[in-house]
């Protein structure tokens, strides 16, 4: 169950890492990863980090992923073009991929903390508490 909830985030980290480290020459993976990193992955990671998945509808999740990703891409692209480093494939993929990986890792950390906290609440720090029988 835990793995199933974490799988999309792990996939996000892998895809973002791939965008950063691989100089893709094949068209299909390059276009696919490029579109994902611009329109989906940063926002998806941020949504997971900010909002509880159980309280989000699929519409909300997809919409937030698209909106945040577009906003992040605009800001990152303008910022890079304003800096001496310039806006290039390498700089943008590292910027967007890096942000995505960091935020996704934070989301994973939050998710694990929340799970641990839930388990502690359900079981208690030293196991199940005494059963109080009702009269």
């Amino acid at each position: 169950m835990n793995m199933r909830r974490q799988a999309p985030l792990v996939g996000t980290i892998l895809a973002a890492s791939l965008t950063m480290i691989t100089p893709l020459t094949a068209e299909v993976p390059r276009v696919t990863l490029g579109i994902l990193i611009v329109f989906f992955l940063p926002g998806f990671a941020a949504t997971c980090a900010v909002l509880d998945a159980r309280r989000l509808s699929l519409n909300d999740r997809l919409l937030a992923s698209l909106g945040i990703s577009l906003g992040t891409t605009v800001c990152a692209a303008v910022l890079l073009a304003a800096l001496p480093i310039g806006l290039t494939r390498a700089s943008l993929s590292v910027a967007l991929g890096g942000v995505t990986v960091i935020v996704a890792l934070y989301a994973l950390f939050r998710m694990r903390s929340a799970m641990a906290s839930t388990m502690n609440t359900e079981i208690g720090p030293t196991g199940p508490g005494p059963i109080i029988e009702e009269d």
Binding site: E27, R55, T73, V74
Partner: protein, 676 residues
């Protein structure tokens, strides 16, 4: 007395946050809100009903023949066939795309999810109409402006490269930078990358508008109606689908509003950081959208401040309004300095002056609702625009009354004696009420542009308010409700058709013929070819004097520094007079780009001019330019012909520019058209 909208809420499910206790609590605090209703006995709930999903799928499929009809109409036009018949086919295609989906989305017995899916599909299908019209390259004037921005960033990897088509646009680099980034990352062309970005933005604004309206009115029928009415604004079909900075910024601004609303109960700092990033993206992309977002956030904060008892989220709205307002003003006045002259000097002030002149009787009013300044529009085309306006105005008064009942909670006192006030709905009503006022601007040429562009903003509120009537209409017995849904959808469809005639000139509705007669509305292939030749043989960033339409291709395909707005003194004289020489020298013009189509027809662009709205004949041309105005370059010894292909010529006038050659005594040039 319980209003019908409240009654409708019993039939509707709208709250996506129903699993969230905190969000639900926040919802309950909203003034003017009624309690959310969840899944109802007849299954009209949030989730897509598998038993009825086929209807939505069928309506989606029904859009395909509509798009095929639009494609066929475009093809007839390009091949030089019967344009009137092609326009009829085009509107038949639009009807097929829009009307069935509108009926279904406004039908009472439909799930919220189905309405949402229909709205997204309609939005994307109407976007496809624009793509079908220009499937190979950008063709709209503003698209060339932002293509040049993108090319500059791709070439230099940095910002603020000169954009001769619109210098102010270079200082709002959000769209150009995002597109250049997508080009870098994917290897796709700027054209395809631009289409994908604007397509994503179209999806974003449709979804955000639906969800925001649903939050404001608490009805998915109103939300669907609002989106359909928004899609019927004059700019939605073509202008809002073009590769232009506003078409990215406005969806991002809608996203900011939705995001703030969606996360107002969240305490995470990352939520605030995301909001700031989204606000910054709007500010970096488009000036007016940034101002509109700031104003809307400010009004929202003020409304909640006045009408709401307590809500911590209100402070965040106020903070974001302050941030957006101050930052967008700072960027506008300190960084994007040419934008001030563009916005005020070239748009707002001339419009105000023209209105003053019309009101004082010094100038005649322009014929409103004639998109091309009255040039070549058939009567039915103009009447359709009037019909759309009349329908909107007729519906507006009862809609505002109904909005007041809901927003101010008339006849709906709460148990604690306080009236529930829905501040966001009041803001929507103010925007809706501003729409008829904005239409007064259409009596002037410059005001017409402002009125048209403002509709993109005002229709967000107008749609929300008018859709209250649609919601009211379908609250009755099943058969009557169905008929009323058809009627409401029919009215919105008529507004869509009428608005399309307002927003687009008759001759600009379909792509131009491959061999157009007269002066064309769009860039022609031979101009692109000449531009590419100039880039290859003359080098980039040469200063060209050129007509407005041709400057788009020359600045992008040719990568030249074009002068169009101030080029009219060079072109409109019949002789190489002192004023022509002076204009060439002061503007450092090295080449003159001559398009002989100027002598074959009057301009059909809005404003009716070849170069700029300030040229002497602008708005009044009844005859094309005399051939002598262009022939003079061939008859002077100081200009040399460097390119000559069909109707296009390029003259090197650098010897005039550097003063090494002074044209002889002025002699009227002989007329005649140049052949290749």
């Amino acid at each position: 007395m319980k209003t019908q909208l409240q009654q409708s809420i019993h039939d509707e499910t709208f709250d996506t946050d129903q699993d969230s206790p905190r969000a639900a609590e926040a919802e309950r605090e909203l003034p003017g809100a009624t309690q959310p209703q969840h899944l109802t006995a007849d299954g009209k709930g949030e989730r897509l009903d598998p038993g009825r999903a086929w209807i939505t799928a069928l309506i989606g499929l029904f859009m395909v023949p509509g798009l095929i009809a639009v494609a066929a109409a475009d093809r007839v036009s390009v091949q030089g066939g019967n344009y009137s018949a092609a326009v009829t086919l085009f509107f038949a295609g639009l009807l097929t795309i829009f009307a069935p989906a509108a009926v279904r989305a406004l039908t009472r017995n439909v799930t919220r999810q189905e309405r949402f899916a229909l709205i997204i599909t309609v939005g994307l299908a109407l976007y496809a109409v624009k793509i079908i019209g220009s499937p190979h390259a950008f063709t709209f004037i503003d698209e060339y402006i932002h293509l040049r921005n993108t090319q500059n960033i791709l070439a230099t990897h940095h910002l603020f490269g000169l954009n001769p088509l619109l210098p102010a646009a270079a200082y709002y680099p959000g769209l150009g930078a995002a597109c250049a980034g997508l080009v870098d990352l994917t290897g796709l062309s700027p054209f395809v990358s631009g289409l994908i970005i604007i397509g994503a933005a179209r999806l974003l604004i449709c979804a955000c508008l639906f969800l925001i309206t649903e939050k404001v009115t608490r009805s998915s029928i109103v939300a669907a109606g609002a989106c359909l009415i928004y899609a019927a604004n004059p700019m939605f079909l073509f202008w809002s689908s073009s590769f232009s900075y506003e078409n990215l910024a406005l969806p991002l601004a809608a996203f900011v509003i939705w995001w703030i609303w969606r996360t107002r109960a969240e305490t995470s700092r990352l939520t605030i950081i995301i909001t700031v990033i989204a606000v910054a993206a709007v500010i970096l992309t488009h000036h007016v959208s940034a101002f509109a977002l700031s104003a809307l956030l400010g009004a929202w904060w003020l409304g909640e401040q006045l009408f709401k008892r307590s809500d911590p989220g209100r402070h965040r709205i106020g903070a974001m309004a302050l941030l957006a307002g101050s930052t967008s003003l700072a960027w506008f006045f300190l960084v994007a300095r040419p934008a001030e002259a563009y916005l005020f000097g070239e748009n707002i002030l001339p419009a105000l002056q023209q209105i003053g002149a019309v009101l004082s009787g010094q100038a005649r009013p322009r014929h409103p609702y004639s998109a091309a300044g009255g040039t070549g529009d058939p009567v039915w085309y103009v009447l359709a625009g009037f019909a759309a306006l009349v329908l909107i105005v007729l519906a507006l008064l009862p809609a505002l009354y109904r909005g007041c009942r809901i927003a101010f909670g008339w006849g709906r006192d709460r148990t604690d004696g306080r009236r529930a006030i829905n501040a966001p709905l009041i803001i929507a009503m103010v925007m809706a009420a501003a729409f008829p006022v904005s239409q007064l601007l259409r009596i002037t040429t410059d005001g017409d542009t402002i009125a048209a562009r403002s509709s993109e903003y005002l229709f967000t509120g107008l749609g929300c308010v008018l859709a209250l009537l649609a919601d009211q209409a379908v609250q009755s017995k099943r058969l009557v409700a169905g008929l009323r849904a058809v009627l409401a959808a029919g009215v919105i469809t008529v507004v869509l058709i009428g608005s399309a005639t307002i927003g687009t000139p008759y001759l600009g509705l379909l792509p131009g013929a491959s061999d157009p007669h007269g002066y064309p509305l769009l860039v022609q292939p031979d101009v692109i070819k000449a531009s590419e030749w100039a880039r290859a043989h003359l080098g980039i960033n040469q200063v060209f004097a050129v007509g407005l339409i041709d400057s788009q291709a020359l600045a992008t395909y040719g990568d030249q520094d074009t002068i169009s707005y101030n080029a009219w003194p060079i072109f409109l004289s019949s002789t190489m007079s002192h004023s022509v020489v002076a204009a060439i020298k002061t503007q450092k013009v090295r080449y003159v780009f001559v398009d002989w189509r100027m002598t074959q027809g009057v301009p059909v662009t809005p404003g009716n001019y070849y170069f700029s709205p300030w040229e002497p004949g602008a708005g009044t041309y009844t005859q094309p330019l005399p051939a002598a105005t262009l022939q003079k370059f061939a008859t002077t010894d100081c200009a040399s012909l460097v390119y000559n292909a069909g109707l296009i010529q390029i003259f090197d006038v650098s010897r005039i520019e550097n003063g090494s050659c002074l044209p002889g005594p002025a002699t009227p040039a002989s007329s005649g058209q140049v052949t290749s």
